[in-house]
Symmetry: C3
């Protein structure tokens, strides 16, 4: 598809930053949160922006709220476009609360999901349970995304605990660790009450990891996406992106939008 | 449809709160505001979320702005899915201002709407006119939703006047009284300038009504929906819900989302 | 289409303000920003709201991010509905930065765009370059929209510089001058940090222009749209309107929505 577009637009106009690579990619991942898109809207998103989406999360428990058949179509479309698809972490937390983890994971795999999110944003979860869930998911062949952070308003990151959690999660089989940003992007994790990134923490954490690309930052607001791209580069992994914002984000990554042009294009040395 | 989904997901995972009932229901109503959805988006919404929508309001005067044929399709789809459909209250206020109430109601019934909203959010309206409009609508076989509250920024509820209005409206034939929240959810009715619910008023009002379920709270913001569900229970009637938020709201009602899990699931005693 | 609707609704109910005219119109223009709509969503928008859209901007560099074929369909639909279609000004700024202006304009005209936006919101651009770009675009038969204002947070309008720019731009071949409001509508141009219009400037500028209708105000927020309509009348040119808001804006222009009823209907003298 990229090649088709290149026939129309000069390659430098398509990616002024000169940094984006095609799928499947290991870095520069974009994870979308679908809070219940209809059939046509989902198809539209895949057609228009499928090349720029690496993971789709069917947010919290919404995948249980529409028809089995629509859910199957979404999962099938994701597979056809090399997009990992998983239910929201909250849904697994409910299964834990209800003592229904085996039933839950059985349904998830039977439906064809190929990822799960393991989180403890809402419930208290002993470390052992977290590690068992990671191992269980990985053993079923699912890509495991663990999440760090509480969903409660005002919950802040603690650098040491985060680094320890990342190291443990990876050891048990997690592939990526997402940092809680909720869907609103305000007052949790690395964001203050206005949704601005709090200085310093991010670089601190990344400096202490052997591979910074295991981290996926939930960044629902455009200002957050732009700031993370300007600070960490266009190949930063970003998550909880709204379906309508995928192309805008891709434009930010490539230096095709005001907020990142000066940083990215000048870096690209033109 | 619920039964189909139950074949896939464990019933406790579909509704951890154990409280949701199927349509037609008298409580736990969800009213959506459509500000001009296109044909496909409307069909998508009905397919994906029709089971969770009880009323659709075609906001303010938008139903006069697209083709008659599209309007007919929307109305027909609502009827097929047991959804009450009505034009926005502002449109009737304009008919009052212009002296065109009979023409307006004639068009509304000929088009197949089965509800109307009677409000005085923008214009001054003597009580007698309000009561006549309610009687007129009810006599035509329309479900009448009256609205309490002014749309102007900073308009606050007055408890006594509200209770008096509810009692009068019901007497004249209104089925539900909606409490103004606008589409923005800020600085009107029970919401302060940040859109937070102001303490106390809600419970005060409900305690003085024989049937609290005649009230339908306009709650466009997710934080408002979560707070009202946590305070008043999952079967609270909520309105002015954006089309994209219907499944999120249903997840909140069922305890399938972080904001209501702790309240609802623990109440369900599991 | 208007005539069809009039057969259903009384004409005074369709346009209480009595001021809206059909396309093609020179005043009361609505410019939509498309940040990457899918195929069906775009068709929906044109079907539902095409009568009320005069210009569509395919925001910043997004037109290079989806398939050539989808881009062609969007452009064709615009032509069929007498809508001017142009890429975002940021895209041209990138072409300037990269030294690719001729290639850029060649692609734009070959694709069938019939408008361009000339801006310097992000890069520094000598006046001579701006004027050359305007002349170049006009010579290619494109409608030229120039933009005044910087995209950086806190950039304010300077009245004198704005008036001088408008006069110069028109002289070189620009048809309209848009005033920067970004997509967020906050902290730039005539808007303060909360997105409110700053008093006085607008009227100052307009009073000094021979024809105030050469100005097109970017007004992405509903409060801004309502305020500009109430201050400058329903036939003010407004831009950066979100696709979902076109019918709401049209309702505001006609006095079919609370925020403008009192001003417009009373002015209409009924």
């Amino acid at each position: 598809m990229e090649s088709l577009r290149e026939g129309v637009w000069n390659a430098e106009l398509i990616d002024p930053s000169g940094s984006r690579r095609a799928k499947p990619r290991r870095i520069g991942l974009t994870m979308v949160i679908d809070k219940g898109l209809g059939r046509t809207a989902f198809r539209d998103m895949i057609e228009t922006a499928g090349d720029y989406i690496d993971i789709i999360k069917l947010g919290f428990g919404t995948s249980a709220l529409y028809s089995h058949e629509l859910l199957r179509e979404k999962i099938t479309l994701c597979k056809q476009h090399r997009i990992t698809v998983m239910p929201g972490g909250t849904f697994l937390e409910i299964a834990v609360l209800k003592g229904l983890v085996p039933e839950y994971l059985d349904t998830v795999t039977r439906l064809g999901f190929d990822g799960i999110e393991v989180s403890d944003g809402t419930i208290d979860m002993p470390k052992e349970v977290r590690h068992e869930l990671i191992e269980h998911g990985a053993a079923l062949g699912l890509k495991v995304f663990t999440e760090y952070g509480k969903k409660a308003w005002g919950s802040k990151l603690e650098t040491e605990a985060l680094i320890q959690t990342i190291q443990d999660d990876l050891k048990y089989g997690s592939e990526f660790v997402t940092i809680e940003g909720r869907e609103s992007g305000k007052g949790v994790g690395i964001y203050d009450e206005q949704g601005k990134c709090m200085g310093g923490i991010i670089e601190d954490v990344l400096a202490q990891l052997p591979d910074p690309h295991v981290v996926l930052w939930e960044a629902p607001l455009k200002t957050q996406q732009a700031e993370l791209i300007n600070r960490l580069g266009p190949e930063t992994n970003l998550g909880n992106i709204a379906p309508d914002d995928v192309l805008s984000l891709e434009a930010l990554r490539r230096g095709l939008r005001a907020d990142t042009i000066n940083g990215l294009i000048r870096k690209a040395g033109k």
